[in-house]
């Protein structure tokens, strides 16, 4: 099997088990289910929550440099700390947290392949004890919103270019426009259903196997290449709020080595609510 383009960003569960007491390594759990950490986590792991820790509480945006420095310093993470993320749902939120760390240029951020599910399936230890670490003095550069992040106007330009690819990683029902939100709560969904014109549908979880580990490189190349998503293209991925697409961003960037991949975190909750933007809808219902 061909090796991933950047194999150093993936560690397996055994590696984590061997580094639980390594002061240069911080294990970070990031979940969709906010109560999983409280039910048991990898010994020594800290929790970073995508809502309360990584988002600005008022503006729809990520935390700024000052708050990132404060967060990481409080968690005992320094600029040279190796941060290993893991979490529920095939590392969906772990890759999201890693993507935010990369907006601030954190050097050594990795994913534990298989996530929380694999650690538990292997019968490894869990604890409810919340660790504390000596505070660090993290110094991040200003957040880089240009290299791995895309905004709506850039997507509007993108769909009229050649030599590019746009990947919709949501479910087929969301892509077709059959579903937008749950009953009774339209304010948390979108006003329109469908997808951004030219986008191909490759649901994010197709990149992982049943045991939650990533598929091999050949399988991933076939999955994305089969839909015209190839490394010679400028690629943007999106979903509903940019979390599932961070997983695809991770796969394309680190496992397949694509040189130019951005995550459009505004995603469908922005596009599907915007006035006058083009939408394709294939669902006839």
């Amino acid at each position: 099997m061909a090796e991933y383009a950047h194999p150093e960003v993936l560690v397996d569960t055994a590696w984590v088990a061997d580094h639980l007491n390594d002061p240069n390594v911080r294990i970070v759990e990031s979940n969709e289910d906010i109560l999983l950490y409280d039910q048991g986590h990898i010994p020594g792991a800290i929790k970073i929550d995508w809502v309360s820790d990584l988002n600005d509480p008022v503006v729809r945006d990520y935390l700024d440099r000052e708050h990132f420095n404060k967060l990481l310093s409080a968690k005992g993470i320094g600029n040279d700390t190796t941060v290993v993320f893991y979490g529920d749902k095939n590392n969906w939120w772990a890759t999201y947290a890693l993507w935010v760390f990369k907006l601030f240029g954190h050097k050594d951020a990795r994913i534990m392949n298989g996530g929380r599910a694999k650690w538990i399936a292997e019968g490894r230890d869990l604890t409810k004890e919340v660790p504390s670490y000596p505070p660090a003095n993290y110094q991040a550069p200003e957040r880089d919103d240009k290299t791995i992040r895309a905004f709506r106007d850039q997507v509007r330009e993108h769909i009229n270019k050649s030599g590019v690819a746009l990947v919709d990683v949501r479910s087929p029902q969301e892509y077709s426009g059959e579903r937008t939100h749950m009953p009774e709560y339209p304010q948390e969904g979108t006003l329109r259903g469908g997808h951004i014109p030219t986008a191909v549908s490759i649901p994010w979880a197709q990149a992982v196997k049943e045991d939650s580990t990533f598929k091999g490189r050949e399988d991933l190349e076939a999955l994305y290449g089969g839909k015209g998503v190839t490394p010679n293209k400028d690629v943007i991925a999106y979903c509903r709020i940019g979390e599932r697409s961070s997983h695809t961003w991770f796969v394309l960037t680190y496992l397949l080595g694509f040189p130019q991949v951005r995550n459009y975190d505004g995603s469908w909750t922005e596009w599907g609510n915007a006035v006058g933007v083009p939408i394709e809808k294939t669902y006839q219902g």
């Binding site: 969709e32 289910d33 906010i34 109560l35 039910q39 809502v51 749950m182 009953p183 709560y185 948390e188």
Partner: protein, 134 residues
């Protein structure tokens, strides 16, 4: 209820769900869910003979701890209550009941069951009206 008590309360309902399972005599079976994160709840609603109070509510579902615990807690909250009282329940009622400090960052999970129950009640009224017109 402090944060730890709220967590214990939610975990108890998640691990030992009340009113869980199908309800054979249900007037309405209403699926609800969030296509984004995969939380699913199906509400089974039985209304009393007078047509204005909840007789019994059960649920089935899958998903995160908060979404499933909230469904269990909701079924206990509304047992025997007037339908109009459910109409008046909102986001804040659920958040306060579940523990604001713990669930406020997951409003969709916390209110999935309530939204689905409201949809079930709407469906019940529609079915009843249609039956009366026929």
């Amino acid at each position: 209820m402090d944060r730890q008590e709220a967590i214990e309360f939610l975990l108890d309902h998640y691990q030992n769900p009340r009113n869980h399972g199908q309800l054979d005599q249900a007037d309405v079976t209403m699926p609800g869910g969030n296509p984004g994160c995969g939380d699913i709840v199906t509400i089974y609603l039985k209304v009393d003979d007078a047509g204005d109070h909840i007789d019994h509510v059960t649920f089935e579902g899958a998903g995160c701890t908060i979404s499933q615990a909230a469904a269990s807690i909701l079924t206990e909250m509304v047992e025997g209550k007037p339908l109009s009282e459910v109409d008046d329940m909102d986001f804040n009622d659920m958040i306060d009941q579940l523990g604001r400090e713990v669930v406020s960052t997951r409003p969709r999970c916390a209110t999935l069951a309530l939204g689905t129950l409201k949809a079930a009640i709407t469906q019940y009224r529609t079915d009843k009206l249609r039956a009366e017109l026929e």
